[in-house]
């Protein structure tokens, strides 16, 4: 058979019509999608403005009641988002008013139901919204998800949601989840603990003494971000850990927690072979500031002067940055050094 017998007078125009028709259909789909989306956005804007106005009037006492769309209404998502955006900005009694509004309107109940969906994406979305809603009813559901949900992503989001509520009862559960989580989940769970601040610090310190399966570097970084440390001794021991990552982070924690008496230990550790450990020590010293007692005071300037001559320019720059605000003695050391970083540090000071 010849090819052009396939391409017959009947077949080709039909094929052309089909191809053109498919193109027209696509154009119609694109245009309809755009029109529908624009209309949804306009509608959403109107609903959002109306709900926010009503909610603000309620909080200011100009209204006694606000009627939100029912939870399964097509405007419910926008209405919920509007209420949550106001909730994010307020605290105290006003928060309680809005939480009650959401509970009485059935939103919390609906989200709690959806948190039991078979679809993990739906459970994640519900958990996030329950966290933003800061409801006690919602917190109970989140605890259940954190303890029992089979999907790690759902458990992580439940932890994040409890973290945004700030419920300290969740800390032990989050610590337990952290020990067995994948790296990304660990990062996020550690972030939740940081957000919990003082409530999480004792548990994190305990993990330093008895790490088990806990990632020590993450625990150290989390404590550094919180900036609290009751007992510095385990951290001073970690300055001699086999891993340079751990040594460096131990130094950062000592600086962040303001453990001035650790300066002699930091000075000793500054002979570390790894430049990024020495860098963290320089930064920690900068964070600590000039100690007000011996032997830390003498060790402080000695170690920074030594680090100003380090092989690595990152270390030198941070040593100069630490010396600049360290009073007359710091300035004198920088002037006698005369390097580009020393000059720049002095200039910044002025």
């Amino acid at each position: 058979m010849n090819a052009h017998q396939l391409l017959t007078p009947e077949a080709l125009p039909l094929a052309l019509a089909a191809a053109a028709g498919a193109n027209l259909l696509l154009i119609a789909l694109i245009v309809c999608n755009k029109i529908a989306r624009d209309r949804r956005e306009i509608r959403a804007g109107t609903v959002r403005t109306s709900v926010i106005n009503d909610v603000v009037s309620l909080l200011e006492g100009d209204r006694e009641d606000v009627v939100l769309p029912p939870p399964r209404h097509h405007d419910a998502v926008v209405a919920l988002d509007a209420v949550l955006s106001v909730l994010e900005a307020i605290k105290g009694d006003s928060e309680a008013v809005l939480v009650t509004l959401l509970e009485q309107s059935g939103y919390i109940g609906t989200l709690a139901q959806r948190a039991r969906s078979r679809d993990p994406v739906r459970r994640c979305a519900s958990a996030m919204l329950l966290g933003a809603a800061r409801s006690a009813q919602g917190a109970a559901v989140l605890f259940e998800l954190l303890e029992n949900d089979p999907a790690p992503e759902v458990r992580t989001i439940a932890a994040e949601a409890l973290g945004s509520i700030g419920d300290p009862r969740s800390v032990p559960l989050i610590m337990k989840a952290l020990a067995h989580a994948a790296p990304f989940q660990q990062l996020r769970l550690a972030g939740v603990l940081v957000a919990m601040g003082a409530a999480a610090a004792p548990f994190l310190e305990h993990a330093l003494r008895e790490p088990g399966e806990m990632p020590i570097t993450l625990v150290l970084e989390a404590l550094s971000e919180i900036g609290l440390l009751e007992d510095a001794q385990p951290v001073l021991t970690l300055l001699r850990h086999a891993s340079p990552e751990v040594r460096g982070r131990a130094a950062t924690l000592l600086g962040a927690a303001g453990v001035v008496d650790s300066v002699p230990d930091l000075a000793f550790a500054s002979r570390d072979a790894f430049w990024f450990v020495r860098l963290r020590i320089a930064k920690a010293l900068g964070a600590l500031g000039v100690p007000d007692r011996e032997p830390a005071y003498a060790a402080y300037f000695a170690v920074l002067q030594h680090l100003l001559l380090d092989d690595n320019w990152h270390v030198r720059r941070n040593a100069a940055a630490a010396l600049a605000p360290a009073g007359a003695q710091g300035e004198a050391i920088l002037r006698s050094d005369g390097s580009a970083f020393a000059r720049a540090a002095l200039q910044q000071l002025r």
């Binding site: 010849n2 090819a3 391409l7 245009v31 994406v121 994040e160 990062l187 972030g191 580009a340 970083f341």
Partner: protein, 469 residues
Amino acid sequence: MSLVHHVFNAFSWFAIAYTFFVDATYYLFTIMAFFALHRHIHTRTRERLERIFRSRLVPPISIVLPAWNEEATVVDSVRGMLRQLYSQYELIVVNDGSTDGTLARLTEAFRLERIEKTYTDDIATAPVRAVYSSYEYTRLTVVDKLNGGSKADAINAGINASSYPLFCACDADSLLEEDGLLQLAVPMLDRSGFVPASAGVVRAANGSRVARGTLYDIALPRRPIEIYQIIEYLRSFLAGRTAQSSMNIMLIVSGAFGLFNKAIVKEVGGYNGNALGEDFELIVRITKHLHEQGSPFEVVFVPQTVCWTMVPHDYATLGRQRARWHRGLLQTLLWNRDMVFSPAYGRTGIVGMGTLLLIEVLGPLVECLGYIMLPVAALIHAIAPWTAVLFFLISVFGGTLLSLSALLLEERSFQRYKRPRELERLIFYAIFENFGYRQLTLWWRTKASLLFLTNRRSSWGEMSRKSFS
């Protein structure tokens, strides 16, 4: 039938079968991209990522920015890079022997000071003249080196100077959105397997408004040549790469914007200075290396992560760019021809490399041949003239279908072009792309293939580039 008629008949059958194969492959990729994008959009929200990545707990990243004669755009690019939301990163600009005022502009804008070079050159490059840092912009380091004859050499110098385990290779005329690094880093952290590289989308900034390194009004350009490229990039990134990533056969991480595991890049010897398509060649080499080691891995595409760049605004520059890309493709395929259709390299070898050869390499040649053979066949009455015309229109409409599908993907996902008039223009140019522009790109690629086969040397050539501002 005469011999000539037999030849034309055989070619006609081949052309029908080939067109069907190519179109079916692209349509399949587009459908896969629809589902992959839908899944992707519903699994991440920006707010959660912001909370995570402002934290110091995240793995630090080095951004490497090679710059050669980029005085028009480099300061804006660096300012944009320094606004990243990611909390732990450094920016290394490599001034690759520029003969214009690139280094002077950087020195003035960021108050650079010369410092000692204290790192070792793990990957051999052209000599480094000096290293600069800024006391005020502590994340910034500038490496000034002699030109090594390739962008690869410059990136390797940046890798040598980098301090962190991940590096992001960008172009000096790239504008990253402020959550760009953040989005690109997620796959490196949340996949259970090893991710040697993750890629973002490159979009054309032409026509958009930029001030001090920030893109603040996305708009379509006026010139058709620029709009055609926008449509091509949508097809290539939103449809093509999304589908490839979902099948784990991604073979390219754009040199304009990609995140890499530094250890694996050093393990394979860094970028190849002799490669015309150094970004593509590196990924193929990493893929090959990991397959040979038997290590599972995934190169991931992150469709909502955007890098904006200025695309060529004149046909001469565009032609040179496309010719260079095509020669880079041919060169890398030739160097790694043992991977093509080889089951030893899994889906990457069979589907990934296979489709590159059959579609990207063979496609322009077959299509160009068709443009010659069909009219000749009509002239010698091997086929009826209207048959030739209809066949041409069918293949054109097949092409417009793909471009319109990419526009629908864009509308269903990111909707970067908000104005209705812009959508009208995109639809218009998606159709008319196939009457002239497509044929021009075909010619450039065919010419590149012929030059490659005759072993003619090629270089980057002069790239005329508009500033963002």
